[in-house]
C-alpha cells in the first residue's frame, strides 16, 4: 500500500508538471541540437563555462534570476559587464542569428539541464515579446 501511494503521488506529480510545461521534452531535444551547434565551444557540454571569459550556465544565478536578460542575450547578443555567481565577466557575445523558436528551445535545454530547473518553460511567444 505504502509503495502504491508513493507510486501514485509520483505519477501525479510528474503528470502535473507535464501539464504546466507541455512540449517541454520535445523543445529540450531540439534545444540540445542548437546548444551543440552554437554554444558548446565556449560554454562547454555540461554548462560549466570556461576560464575567465565564458560564464557557467549550470547553476548560474544570473540565468535563474534574470530570465528576461538571459533570453535577450541569446536573442540579440550580450555586451558589457555581468556578474555570475559572484564573478564578474566582461566579454562580448555576438548575436547568434537564431529564430525565436530556436531561442526558446535552447533556453529550455539550458533551464532544464545540469541540475538547473525553473517553474515555467520558455515559450516562443515569450521570446517574440522581448524586443531590442
Amino acid at each position: 500500500m505504502y509503495h502504491f501511494i508513493i507510486f501514485l503521488s509520483t505519477t501525479f506529480f510528474i503528470a502535473g508538471w507535464w501539464q504546466t510545461n507541455p512540449g517541454l521534452e520535445e523543445s529540450k531535444q531540439r534545444g540540445k541540437l542548437v546548444y551543440e551547434d552554437f554554444c558548446v565551444t565556449c560554454h562547454r557540454s555540461n554548462g560549466t563555462g570556461f576560464g575567465k571569459n565564458y560564464p557557467p550556465l549550470a547553476n548560474s544565478d544570473f540565468l535563474l534570476n534574470k530570465r528576461k536578460e538571459s533570453i535577450y542575450a541569446v536573442k540579440y547578443g550580450l555586451q558589457g559587464e555581468i556578474t555570475v555567481n559572484g564573478t564578474v565577466y566582461n566579454k562580448k557575445m555576438e548575436p547568434l542569428g537564431l529564430s525565436d523558436e530556436e531561442v526558446a528551445d535552447v533556453m529550455n535545454y539550458i533551464y532544464f539541464s545540469w541540475g538547473n530547473t525553473t517553474s515555467e518553460m520558455v515559450t516562443v511567444q515569450e521570446v517574440t515579446n522581448i524586443k531590442k
Binding site: E36, D37, F38, V40, T41, C42, R44, S45, N46, F50, G51, N53, K92, E94, P95, L96, G97, L98
Partner: protein, 371 residues
Amino acid sequence: MVTKFYALIMMTLLTLCKQKDPNPPKTNPAEVDYEWVIQEVNIPWGMAVLPDGSLLYTEKEGIIYHISNGKKTEVGRPENLYYRGQGGLLDICLHPDFEKNNKVYFTMSRQPEGEKGGNTALFSAEFDGKIIQNYQLLYQATPLTTAGHHFGSRVAFDKKGYLYFTIGDRGERDLNPQDVTRDGGKVYRLHDDGSVPTDNPFKGNDGKPTAVFSYGHRNLQGMFVHPDTDEVWTNEHGPKGGDEINIIKKGANYGWPVITYGKEYSGLTITEETSRPGMEQPLYYWIPSIAPSGMCFVDAKVYPDWKGNVLVGSLVFEYLERLELKNNKVVARHKLFENMGRVRNVLTAPDGTIYVAIENKGILKIKPQKK
C-alpha cells in the same frame, strides 16, 4: 572517511579526464614592440595589405573596411550574407597582380536569394581605392544547411597563380569530409577566374575535375603559402583537443573524422585511431585545443629573432602563439600578446610586417626587430 575516499576517487578521475599539455607554451618575458593600426573593431576576420601600405579588412558581420592613416572607411557590403553562428564575412586577399587589375577575393557564408540555410561562397571583386564593386560569385558550396558552425574559411594565392580556399565540414562530419564529391571539410584550388584547373585531383559525377584539392578536414581557419617552398600550410580546429597544422598535398586525405587526436566536447571518444595508412599525419597537433585562427610565416628580414617561425592566433586562450620549427617539427612554443583578447588573424604583409587582429580590441602591427 567514506566521503574522503570518494573525494579522492573523484579527484583522480578528474585529473585523468583533464587534457594535459605535454609541451606547454612559454610566456615570453620580453615585451613585443607594436603599434595600433585601428582600435575600433568587432570581429576582424580577414586582412589584406595594399601596395600603398593601407589595409583592407573584413568584419564578420558583413562589412569590408579600408583603413588608411588610421581612418576607417566602409568600402563594401556583400549581399546575401548568412550571418548565423560562426558564419559571416570571412577572409580576404589580393590578386597577385592587384596593382594592374584591382582584384580582391573573399569568402563568406551565403544564403542565396529566396533559399533556406547557407554555405560558404568565394567571390572576386574590384577595389579602386574607394569602393568595392563588380562582385562575381566564383564558387558556392552546397547543400545549404541551417547548421551554424564550420564554414572555414581562408583564401590565398600561391606563386604559380593558383587560388586556394578552405571550407569547414558544416557540422556533417560523417557525410562531408571523407566524400570528395561533396562540399565541406576540404581545401579547394581554382584559377583566378574561378575555373577549375584540369589537373585537379578529383572528378565529379559528370567526369569533370572539381575544385577539391585535399579532403578529410574539420574546420580550417588559418592558411599561408610558404615563401620558400610555395606549399600551402593550413591549420584547423579539432574537437576537444586535436587542432592541427598541415602541409597540403594534392589529393591527400587528412583523416577527419576517421583519425583524430581529439575527443568529443563531452569527453567521449570519437575514435581510438590516430593514424591509418593513406591518411596524412599533421605537422603538429595541439592538446588541449587552442582554437587556432589565422596563421603566417615570419619574414626573417624584418624579424631576425624569429627566423623560420610560424605564428598562430588562439581564440580560446587569447594569445598569439609563436612556434619555432626545425625541419618542419615544432621544437618550442611561445605566447605573445597575452590577455588582450581572442586573436582572430595574423598576417605577413608583402613588406614583411606582421599584422595581428584581436577581437573587440583592434588591429596592430609588430615593429621590426633590430638586426
